[in-house]
Amino acid sequence: MEKTLPKIEIIEKYCKGCHVCVEFCPKDVLEMKGFYASVKNLEACIKCMQCELRCPDFAIKVITE
């Protein structure tokens, strides 16, 4: 079965750069780019939704089908 990739939406207007999503991602998908979080390696994403669950600022949405 072919792996489908999610769409990780980061709302920069809400992001406060706390690093929580980057640190708690088990697959190192996210990184800090300047002040905001950004997607580094979408291929590695396993859709565990940890970033969406833990982001205190409602700034990340992991959109799967």
């Binding site: 809400y14 406060k16 706390c18 929580v20 982001c55 600022d57 409602f58």
Partner: protein, 272 residues
Amino acid sequence: MAFDYDKWIRPGKLPHIWCPGCGHGIVMKGLIRAFETLQLKKENTALVSGIGCASRLPGYIDCCTLHTAHGRAAAFATGVKMAKPEMDVILVGGDGDGTAIGGNHFIHACRRNINMTYIIINNYIYGMTGGQFSPCTPTGHKASTTPYGNPDPGFDIAKLAIGAGATFVARGTAYHANQIDKLIVEAIQHKGFSVVEILDDCPTTYGRRNKYKSVIEMMNRLKEVAVPVKAAEKMSAEQLEGKVLTGILYKEVKPDYTSEYAKVIERAQAAK
């Protein structure tokens, strides 16, 4: 699929005022997920708070909300519940708001066993007013008003609630984000006064005075100190030293205040 939090958020209210890394947002997400699980109606849900960082939470949520005087959330919420017993009344507040300024209201709401849910977000400090020590600041820890360490022993909110007569007491942490909504769902479903204490981090006023290098370190500390109730049964007293129990700590069925009061009304009307 991404969870749709926007349904419960007042349009245009985000970003919220909480500091970077503050776990209050995580608790708010848990609360919204719990509302969604229970399929609560916005017009039938009242969210009441006092003053403080945590008490800003109802301002962001789109339901019936009441932002009241410092520590008086329980008093105002009692009024709401007595006037409209069919409403789901949920209180949100911090440790200072709930156990210091509102300590008396809190214990008496517990004693009366009013069918409400009190979510106390315990970040061990008064965040909004500048980091003064609260009744929950652990002994020896620093705050802006105790720069040489706090000499007072801290409150155990869960034990206080059980002692005062609350019939449902649970504890979670901002690190265990998945558990928050489950505890809140159980608390709202319970008929009686439910207390859910959520341990949280305050990187701005508590963390930086107590040598926590980052938000991540504070979150990991919550992970380290938390022990689920079931796991704690198999642990010795030494192993449990410095740990906090999480999960549902106490539950009992007792008559709740609004139904008892309805009986009083019936008796009074029959006596005419």
